[in-house]
Structure formats: structure tokens, C-alpha cells
């Protein structure tokens, strides 16, 4: 959806690009198909919201990775480290300000979580900058070394979290007004999941607008399509890439904070555990495509939730089955990004 450029201006003579809508229909179709299988409407609503919430969080973690790959042909196997660091940085705000977390005031709750998120994004963004400089810059274009080196970076980062925050799990409290659920009819909607959906949608819409309506977005999309051409036109694609890398890391940090509060306990492996899911999502979406990544995240999370309810044993491998199915249909992912 985002990778397909719309006509630039009214007077441009460019042919209209055909918008590929079939993948867009997948998510609603899947949800509707599952309704009769699940049976009861309230359960279905609960499952769907839970799936969407999880999908949003996964999308935040995955979107940066897929953009980084599309733009610079770098696959960061250490992306999960940013998720962990983000979640752990949030504890620096959330644990000392326990009072603000425990009060019943919505505004104090919101502001403390907001501060935690801001700090986490700042730290992971800066870390992303350092990571790009130190770890990735020397190995551009060398895939084998990239995989190894980012894997090594991940190990080191995970161990450093142990050094700084200690080896024990850290319990993370949800702010008191975020707990509980809204009851609508018979369907229980957990508040925190709705918040996650809200944040996720905001991120997605912002990203969509930035990518499609701003000059920077135009350059990023052009860079994904053909980086050399952008450079030839006089833009420093390297700076663009550093920016995208930082933004992607910060988004992973944001995803980490939300995911950490969702799980309510933190371990240093929290990011590493998500890596597999994130990879599946970006493969399904098509490497380099943000829109595909969004749909992929929704699909994976919804299927996991429905399968967990209908056939728990199948749920263990549902992501893999989904990936294989999608790849059999479209071997390059939902929205193939041409080149490479």
C-alpha cells in the first residue's frame, strides 16, 4: 500500500499505478471467516481485539527492520536488542515513579507512560545510531558478515542488559487506570489492548503520511526502489539511512515498552524471543515493504489468536504455516519490492 507511489501531481502525465488490493482484503476476510468457526460473537470480538493489539506491537518492532532492509540491504539480526533495551529503559521511569503509576488519575498515568516511552525511544534511537556507526558501517554489502556481526551485537547487548539491570526478571506494573476491561454487551475488551491498537494505528498513519506526503518520505521510497539513482540526483542517501535506522530502532524501542507492559515481566531475552516473529512478519509482507509488514503483522497475530482458541496445538506452528501458505501464493511476500 505504501510502496506503491500515487501520481505525483495533477499535471503529471504518469500512468496510474494499479493498486494491488487483494492483500488488503486478507485481514477483514480472515476475521469474518473466523466468526462462524469461533461461534460466539463476544468471544470473537475479544479474540480479534487481542489479535489486533498484538499485531500493532509486532508491527512497530518490524516496520523499522523492513525499511532498513529495503533502503540499505542490511538485515539486522540484532533488531531484537532494541526491543529489549526499550523495555528495560522504560523501567528507569516506571519503577522510581511508582506513585504516579499507582494513582487512579488518568493524566498522571498517561504522563508517566508517555515519559517512559519518550525516554525509551530516545535511548534506542541513540543506540541505533551507535549500532549503525560501530557495528554495521564496516560491513555494508557483505551479507554473511552482516548476519554474524549483528548476531554478535545482539549477544553483547543482551549481556549488557544483564550487567546494568541485573539478571533477575523485573516485574512491570500496568498503570492502574489501564487495567481491567470495558464490557460492551457480552464482549470484554481489555483497556490496555485498545490503547495498544490506538498507539499502533497512530504510528502506522504517521508513517504512512511521512512516507507518502513528505519529501523525506519520497526520498526514502525512491531509495528503496533505486538507491544509486537517488545518490546520482545529489541526495546523501547515507544520511537518510542513518535517520531511518535511528527511527526504526526507536520504533522497536516503543514496541518493546508496550510489549513489556503487556507481558508485565521483563527478561533480557524479551527482544530475542520476538525476533523470529518479526522475521516471519517481514517475510510475509515482502522484504522492504511497510504496508506489507503491517498486513503481515495483523495476519500473524490474528491467526495466532484464533488458532490458540480453536486448536491450541496448531497454534504452536501457526506462524510457520501461515508463512508457507503466503509464500506459496506469492513467493516474494505480499508486496514484493522489486530489485535484489
Amino acid at each position: 500500500m505504501t510502496t506503491i507511489p500515487h501520481p505525483v501531481t495533477q499535471d503529471s502525465p504518469l500512468a496510474k499505478v494499479r493498486v494491488d488490493v487483494v492483500p488488503l482484503l486478507l485481514v477483514p476476510m480472515l476475521a469474518l471467516l473466523m466468526l462462524p468457526l469461533v461461534g460466539s460473537f463476544p468471544t470473537w470480538v475479544t479474540l480479534t481485539v487481542a489479535g489486533l493489539a498484538m499485531g500493532m506491537m509486532v508491527f512497530m518492532m518490524a516496520s523499522g527492520l523492513t525499511l532498513i532492509f529495503g533502503l540499505m540491504d542490511v538485515l539486522n539480526f540484532g533488531h531484537g536488542a532494541f526491543v529489549s533495551v526499550g523495555a528495560f529503559t522504560a523501567t528507569l521511569v516506571l519503577l522510581p515513579m511508582k506513585g504516579w503509576v499507582e494513582t487512579e488519575s488518568v493524566w498522571m498515568n498517561l504522563s508517566v507512560v508517555g515519559m517512559a516511552i519518550l525516554l525509551a525511544m530516545l535511548v534506542t534511537g541513540l543506540l541505533g545510531w551507535a549500532f549503525e556507526r560501530i557495528i554495521i558501517r564496516p560491513v555494508y554489502g557483505l551479507h554473511l558478515k552482516q548476519i554474524l556481526i549483528t548476531m554478535g551485537g545482539m549477544i553483547v547487548a543482551e549481556q549488557l542488559i544483564h550487567v546494568i539491570w541485573g539478571a533477575e526478571q523485573i516485574p512491570l506494573q500496568l498503570p492502574s487506570t489501564f487495567r481491567g476491561a470495558f464490557i460492551i454487551g457480552d464482549a470484554a475488551l481489555e483497556k490496555y489492548r485498545l490503547i495498544a491498537v490506538g498507539v499502533g494505528l497512530t504510528v502506522f498513519v504517521t508513517m504512512f503520511l511521512v512516507l507518502n506526503r513528505t519529501k523525506v518520505g519520497l526520498l526514502i521510497r525512491a531509495g528503496v526502489e533505486n538507491g544509486e539513482m537517488v545518490e546520482a540526483l545529489g541526495y546523501r542517501i547515507r544520511r537518510l539511512f542513518v535517520g531511518v535506522f535511528m527511527a526504526g530502532s526507536a520504533l522497536a524501542g516503543l514496541g518493546g515498552v508496550l510489549w513489556g507492559m503487556y507481558k508485565e515481566t521483563l527478561t533480557a531475552a524479551i527482544g530475542g524471543e520476538m525476533t523470529v516473529l518479526v522475521f516471519i512478519v517481514i517475510i510475509i509482507g515482502g522484504l522492504g515493504s511497510v504496508g506489507g509488514c503491517f498486513i503481515g503483522a495483523m495476519l500473524v497475530a490474528l491467526v495466532a489468536n484464533y488458532a490458540g482458541f480453536l486448536a491450541p496445538k496448531v497454534a504452536l506452528v501457526s506462524d510457520i504455516l501461515l508463512m508457507v501458505t503466503v509464500l506459496l501464493w506469492r513467493p516474494q511476500g505480499l508486496y514484493p519490492v522489486a530489485k535484489r
Binding site: L75, F77, H143, I149, V156, V163
Partner: protein, 360 residues
């Protein structure tokens, strides 16, 4: 004869030869040189890891394939023999059935994954194998009716390998000739044979093609070698040998479980060993495994002392905490990818070559 046994691929460095010899002698005489169950366990683990890591090197170092599913094949071997012994009782036929079933399963899986994703780029293969291996580990720990779940399964091995079994009465150089000793030598000689077999493979014409693919797959294809087929063959071969390593480990531990056989930590261990030891040199697996496993078991003792010495300083004490040994290896790993990508073995060989060129 030495040349034949090592398939013409001699260590080519005096220091390297000395180190290899030390490892060989140390492992061959381990039961007599060191006493106590722990040191024998360390020696057996080194043997198994040499095979496991060398088989991974076949993929990573020689063919240039990054796979994260190597522990899966290792786990298949271990679970195959473990579950067969658990289900059929401690007989040799159970070992045979378990091993061959595991080999068949590994072969099929490697073939399917290979044909499915080796056509495309290295990165894609890395991601797919990561996902498949993760799913396999989840399956093994969740299907607890068959696999024993998180706890795994303990089982009895055939009589000859039982610790209670005595081949001869009395002691031999201070060591009873019991089943534990026999198991150790079973592991040791199987590992040695598999190691020499792999040395043979990488120095055969087939191995040369693999290296050609690693260096430039487009050119290899242009020369008339079907790269997909060669890659898939290397993948299957690596998987089969990893399966055998798993079988050996299960026989030695008399236990299978997801944590020791399938966890991602094992995979990172393998990666660390391959890179630090030296990619694309089978000998790297020997040096790397010996160093790594010794460090894993004994570095922590040193670090405990360092940590105790710095107990007053908050962050530093944590930095040297015995559980943080992986941190230091991780740093070493990153540094070695940058500065000596051919690892310890490559460095030693390069040094020896430079010296011999200077002499005349």
C-alpha cells in the same frame, strides 16, 4: 600416511600442529589424565562439539550458507535415539532404530528446507531456518506426551555403556574399565572418524566446488556446476553429521531435553566457536571447541575471583560476574569477525606463511 589420513590438508603451522596434537592427546587420554566426572564430561562435550561445529563449518565456512537450524538437526539426532531407548528399552536395536529414524527425518527436512529456500539469497535462508528451528523447539517442548516436554527424558543405555558395567575387574592406570569409559571412547572414536571424514569431504573435488560457490556463486554456475544442487547436498551432509553428533551427545548424557539440545543458546555457541576458531578451516572447529568449552567450564572460576576483587565497584563487579562470560565471548566474536575473519586457525596459518616466505 599422515598426509593420507588428513586428506592432504595439513595444519601448515607449527604452533597449530602443536595445539591440535595437544587437543588430540588430551582427548584421547582424558580418562587417565584427569580424574573426576566433571573433567571427563568436559572432554566428551568437546568431542561432540568438534563434530557439530565442523559440520556447521561445512555450511558456513565452506559453502557460505548461514543456517540457524543446525541445532534442530542436532536435536533430532538426540531425540531420535533418546526416545527410541526410552520407548523400546535399553537395547542396541533401539539405538540403531533411533539413529536411522533420526537420520531419515533430518535428511528429509534438510532437503525440503534446502530446495524451498536455498534458491534465493543467503539472508532469506537464514531467516527461514531461524523460524523453522524455533517452531521445532516449541513443538519439542510442548508435545510433552512424546518428548517429555521441558523436563526432557532420561533413559537407560545398552548394558555395555552403563556406568555399572565392568569389562574387566580391577583398575587400569587408576581407572576402572567401566561402561562410562567405554561410552567415552565410543564418543571419542566416532568423533575422530567423523572429523576425518569431513576433512576428506572438504578436500575432495566436491569440497572445492563448495568453496567456489562461496567465493562467487555466479561464476560457479557459469562453469557448469548446478549451485542449487551443490548447496542442497552440503546442507544435507551437514544436517546428517549434526544428527550423528546429537546421537553421541544423547548416549553420553543419557538424557535428552529441549534446553540442552534445541535451545537457541546452543546455536549461538556454535556460531561463536566457528567464527572464533576459524571459518572455512575444519581445524578451527577443534581449536574453537576446545577453547570455548574449557572457557565455559573454567573461565567462570577466574571471573568469580575477578568479580570478588571488585566487589566494591558496582558496575565493574557485574561486568566480571561469572555468569557474564558470554559477554566477553560476544565481544571477542564481534572483534574477530572484523579483524581476523579466518579466526585463530587462519591467523596462525597466515603467520606461518609469512615466516616461510621471508626465510628464502
Amino acid at each position: 600416511m599422515m598426509n593420507n589420513l588428513l586428506s592432504g590438508d595439513l595444519p601448515r603451522s607449527r604452533l597449530l600442529s602443536a595445539m591440535l596434537l595437544a587437543v588430540l592427546v588430551g582427548l584421547a587420554l582424558a580418562p587417565f589424565l584427569f580424574h573426576g566426572a566433571r573433567s571427563l564430561n568436559v572432554a566428551a562435550t568437546i568431542c561432540v562439539f568438534i563434530v557439530l561445529v565442523a559440520s556447521y563449518d561445512l555450511l558456513l565456512g565452506y559453502t557460505g550458507i548461514v543456517s540457524f537450524a543446525h541445532t534442530m538437526f542436532y536435536g533430532i539426532g538426540a531425540y531420535g535415539v533418546g526416545l527410541a531407548l526410552h520407548g523400546m528399552g535399553p537395547t542396541w536395536s533401539a539405538v540403531l532404530v533411533g539413529t536411522s529414524a533420526a537420520l531419515v527425518v533430518s535428511l528429509l527436512l534438510a532437503l525440503v528446507i534446502g530446495l524451498f529456500s536455498l534458491r534465493v539469497r543467503a539472508i532469506f535462508y537464514a531467516m527461514i531456518t531461524l523460524a523453522v528451528a524455533a517452531a521445532f523447539a516449541v513443538l519439542a517442548s510442548q508435545l510433552s506426551d512424546y518428548t517429555g516436554g521441558e523436563d526432557g527424558r532420561t533413559f537407560k543405555v545398552p548394558d555395555l555403556l552403563q556406568p555399572g558395567f565392568h569389562l574387566l575387574e580391577g583398575e587400569f592406570f587408576g581407572r576402572a574399565l567401566d561402561g562410562k569409559l567405554i561410552t567415552y571412547y565410543l564418543v571419542f572414536f566416532s568423533a575422530l572418524a567423523l572429523f576425518l571424514f569431513m576433512l576428506r569431504i572438504v578436500n575432495s573435488p566436491f569440497g572445492r566446488v563448495l568453496q567456489a560457490i562461496r567465493e562467487n556463486d555466479f561464476r560457479a554456475e557459469a562453469l557448469g556446476y548446478r549451485t542449487v544442487i551443490y548447496r542442497t547436498l552440503a546442507n544435507c551432509l551437514g544436517a546428517l553429521i549434526a544428527t550423528l553428533a546429537g546421537v553421541l551427545m544423547a548416549l553420553w548424557l543419557r538424557y535428552v531435553g529441549p534446553k540442552t539440545m534445541l535451545s537457541f543458546e546452543v546455536m549461538t555457541d556454535i556460531l561463536l566457536i566457528v567464527v572464533i576458531g576459524g571459518m572455512g578451516t575444519v581445524y578451527g572447529a577443534v581449536i574453537g571447541s576446545a577453547l570455548f568449552i574449557l572457557m565455559q567450564n573454567y573461565l567462570q572460576v577466574l571471573m568469580k575471583e575477578a568479580s570478588a576483587a571488585m566487589v566494591g565497584i558496582p558496575l565493574l563487579a557485574n561486568l566480571f560476574h561469572p555468569d557474564r562470560w558470554l559477554l566477553w565471548l560476544g565481544v571477542l566474536f564481534v572483534l574477530s569477525v572484523y579483524f581476523f575473519p579466518a579466526g585463530i586457525v587462519g591467523k596462525l596459518r597466515a603467520g606461518a606463511q609469512a615466516r616461510s616466505q621471508r626465510k628464502p
